[in-house]
């Protein structure tokens, strides 16, 4: 126990050192060079960032922008994940389903979500629909891929074992294939979440008046580098928080994969 | 200090947090001796070994080789573990040569040493083979050959034959004894298997359960070649079993 605490203390110490030295380098670099014309120092950005919680950037304050972005990401991400998990597991486990869907999936897989922007506008208009569609794709593709490999990797011995114990195919799907795939699914969910959150910025380029993506886009019009950096900071922090939440959920659900004595 | 003492362990203790694994262990290993260490399951035999090899820093106590603290740079110590750790991408002779190469032994000497070892472990015709083309027993011989190739002053073996069937084990044990007698290497051999300890050893160190101390040091004078159904052999085997039986 004391060892673990010690290690945690050590890890956070390294984290602090690395962040502080990064900020220091940034500050010194800006001070000592001409870059300050196009690059504000770290203090300025941090102060602007804090300030964005009190004084609106554009129409809203930072928390409201974040909420708008989350409202775009969360529903589309959930739908994309659910569809991805279902399709992926079925594709991984049932050969015919794989044969049917694999070619289409393989065609969609390499296309980056932002390539769909024009089509999504044509199909879903410039409102929320097109944004949801892009984020859906960003979640769906990696989640499906990992779910497939999860269902594929099920230890054949465990299946034999289920047969030996008299379980039906259906029962084994529920009690062996699914639980076995959970850790794989979660790594897909992590990748999908990062992708979705990154895609929202692109999606908010389509046309919006709010959201963290908008903060960045609008800074282009006003040539306000600090605002751009504030937006980037917001995206980074929220993305980090989402990934952390996800990891905690995973630890909770997959307690059995954690090996400890 | 006695000239004949190869390894001297004094008051060795090792503690992980609140868990005391080794408690004040002292013993000597003589030059050229075959020492077996046995103890109940989970008694910290591996911690013991790792302390000797300096993988762990002991909590207290010291280990001397030839009267000086262990220095892995200077002391030539070889290990053999249970897992068959050949390098699959090297041939038999490259495997055996490996330890010599990292020690910077010149090529001519390497060739000669490898030839000698191949002869000793009976793999002369297989020098160009890769480990996966060999049977389990031959792979074991490669592992042993590699360990002996550097002419180690101390050979540490951690249950190398734990997973082998009896016939094969007996055969490899006989070969090991043969090699040991030819080379005069000092061997510390750790095992769970009491019969194996009685078969191989000159001395048996019986450890207690955690925190492990030395329960007894038994001298094994049975004449070689030994016979596992010889009454004297069985008497000694039962004596050691009584000392550690927990099951």
């Amino acid at each position: 126990m004391r060892k673990i605490l010690q290690r945690m203390a050590q890890n956070s110490m390294y984290a602090i050192i690395s962040i502080v030295s990064f900020l220091l380098l940034w500050a010194i670099g800006v001070q000592l060079s001409d870059i300050k014309i196009v690059m504000p120092g770290p203090w300025e950005v941090i102060i602007d960032f804090v300030d964005s919680f009190i004084h609106p950037v554009g129409r809203y304050t930072m928390p409201v922008h974040i909420l708008y972005s989350l409202m775009r990401v969360v529903p589309a991400y959930i739908v994309g994940s659910v569809v991805g998990i279902t399709l992926g597991i079925l594709m991984g486990w049932y050969r015919p389903i794989n044969s049917i869907f694999r070619p289409i999936y393989e065609l969609i897989r390499p296309i980056p979500p932002i390539a769909w922007i024009p089509i999504s506008i044509v199909w879903f208009g410039i409102g929320e629909g097109s944004k949801w569609f892009l984020i859906f794709l960003a979640a769906f593709v990696p989640v499906t891929l990992n779910s497939i490999s999860g269902a594929r990797s099920v230890d054949p011995l465990l299946i034999k074992c289920g047969e030996m114990l008299g379980a039906s195919k259906k029962h084994m799907f529920r009690t062996i294939v699914l639980p076995f795939s959970v850790p794989y699914i979660f790594s897909g969910l992590q990748v999908g979440l990062a992708g979705s959150w990154a895609t929202v910025v692109a999606a908010e380029m389509i046309r919006s008046t709010e959201g963290v993506g908008w903060i960045i886009i609008s800074s282009m019009d006003t040539n306000d580098v600090a605002q751009s950096l504030v937006g980037i900071m917001g995206i980074g922090i929220v993305g980090f928080l989402l990934a952390t939440i996800m990891r905690n959920v995973e630890d909770r659900l997959c307690a059995w994969t954690v090996r400890e004595v | 200090m006695n000239e004949n003492i190869k390894v001297r362990v004094t008051n060795l203790s090792k503690q992980f947090g609140d868990l005391k694994v080794l408690d004040n262990i002292s013993f000597d290993v003589l030059q050229g001796e075959f020492l077996c260490v046995v103890g109940p399951t989970g008694c910290g035999k591996t911690t013991f070994l790792n302390s000797v090899t300096k993988l762990y820093e002991p909590t207290s106590g010291e280990i001397l080789i030839d009267g000086k603290p262990v220095d892995l740079q200077k002391n030539n110590i070889s290990y053999i573990f249970q897992e068959q750790s050949t390098m699959e991408w090297y041939t038999v002779e490259q495997n055996i040569e490996y330890g010599l190469r990292i020690r910077g032994v010149p090529k001519v000497e390497r060739r000669q040493a490898v030839d000698e070892v191949l002869e000793m472990v009976g793999l002369k015709g297989f020098r160009k083979y890769y480990p996966r083309e060999l049977s389990a027993s031959m792979v074991q011989r490669v592992v042993i050959g590699r360990a002996f190739a550097t002419k180690p002053e101390l050979l540490l073996m951690d249950e190398p034959y734990g997973q082998l069937d009896i016939e094969l084990r007996f055969k490899l044990e006989d070969e090991l004894i043969d090699l040991w007698r030819k080379t005069g290497t000092t061997v510390i051999f750790i095992t769970h298997n009491i019969e194996e300890a009685v078969y191989l050893s000159e001395h048996i160190l019986v450890l207690t359960n955690k925190p492990s101390t030395i329960k007894k040091r038994i001298t094994n004078n049975l004449p070689r070649p030994r016979n596992v159904i010889d009454p004297e052999f069985i008497r000694l085997r039962n004596e050691v079993t009584e000392l550690i039986k927990w099951w």
């Binding site: 011995l157 289920g162 114990l165 009690t175 059995w256 | 009896i166 094969l168 298997n193 159904i229 069985i234």
Partner: protein, 258 residues
């Protein structure tokens, strides 16, 4: 009242002229050749042979996990074509479900076969207790030691109340001392709950300790080389002269893998 190899009440599992070949690019390898055997009710039979001699393949064929290239396997007079609940298996690699607790693993069979909760609770309680894991019902598998894991494997196979239990080198991953303990334990469990057991091992000491009958197999392809009826009284003494001379004799008759 043994009638014949297929329909007798006394014979739980039998096979006739079973052979098994594996084909690969290099050609076909015969792993089992022409094996016929019968196992009587409540008999403890050990299949013993050198290293990779095809013991596990034979067990897979007998239990229905694999099919024979030729020949037939009968279980209570019925042809065996697939795995089934009447033939339980304890695997060398344990093959436990890590996402389930001890209880979940042991009760898996009865649950899968649709028994009511009260029934599978009762059954699993009984067998968890029998293998000595009382108090560990809610532990996950990765918290258990090797010996305890295999106790779960044994309880899981037992809990389905199969006609015959196949055990494929169940203790080979354990250290020598835990192995002795588990050999004593399997004898205790078997004498409390008599079952027909087909036990595979490559450890002759273990074979002589547990077996009513040892079937010695040849090296690949596996054929029956010899059979030994072990009449030593139980519990057996590993170091008695009778035990050691049997061990020596059988071991000398075994084909060498060297």
């Amino acid at each position: 009242m043994r009638v014949d190899s297929t329909g007798s009440v006394d014979t739980v599992i039998s096979c006739q002229r079973v052979s098994k070949e594996f084909s690969s690019k290099r050609g076909t390898t015969k792993v089992i050749e022409n094996i016929s055997l019968e196992v009587k009710r409540n008999e403890f039979v050990v299949l013993f042979g050198p290293g990779q001699c095809g013991k596990t393949t034979l067990m897979n064929v007998l239990s229905g996990l694999d099919t024979a290239t030729s020949g037939t396997v009968y279980s209570l007079g019925e042809k065996v074509v697939r795995p089934g609940a009447e033939r339980g298996v304890v695997f060398q690699s344990m093959a436990l479900f890590p996402w389930l607790t001890v209880r979940g693993n042991v009760a898996y069979g009865p649950k899968a076969r649709g028994f009511e909760k009260s029934v599978w609770i009762e059954k699993s309680d009984y067998y968890i207790n029998l293998v000595g894991l009382k108090g560990f019902e809610d532990s996950y598998i990765n918290k258990l030691s090797g010996g305890m894991k295999q106790r779960v494997g044994i309880a899981r196979a037992y809990c389905n109340e199969p006609e015959v239990l196949f055990m494929d080198e169940p203790f080979s991953a354990l250290d020598a001392q835990t192995r002795y303990l588990m050999q004593e334990e399997i004898m205790r469990i078997w004498s409390t709950e008599k079952r027909t057991i087909v036990f595979i091992t490559n450890n002759i000491e273990e074979a002589v300790y547990v077996a009513d009958r040892i079937i010695l197999l040849t090296n690949c392809p596996a054929k029956i080389k010899k059979e030994y009826h072990i009449d030593l009284p139980r519990p057996r003494d590993y170091t008695s002269p009778e035990f050691l001379s049997l061990r020596d004799e059988i071991s000398k008759n075994m084909d060498r893998t060297l």
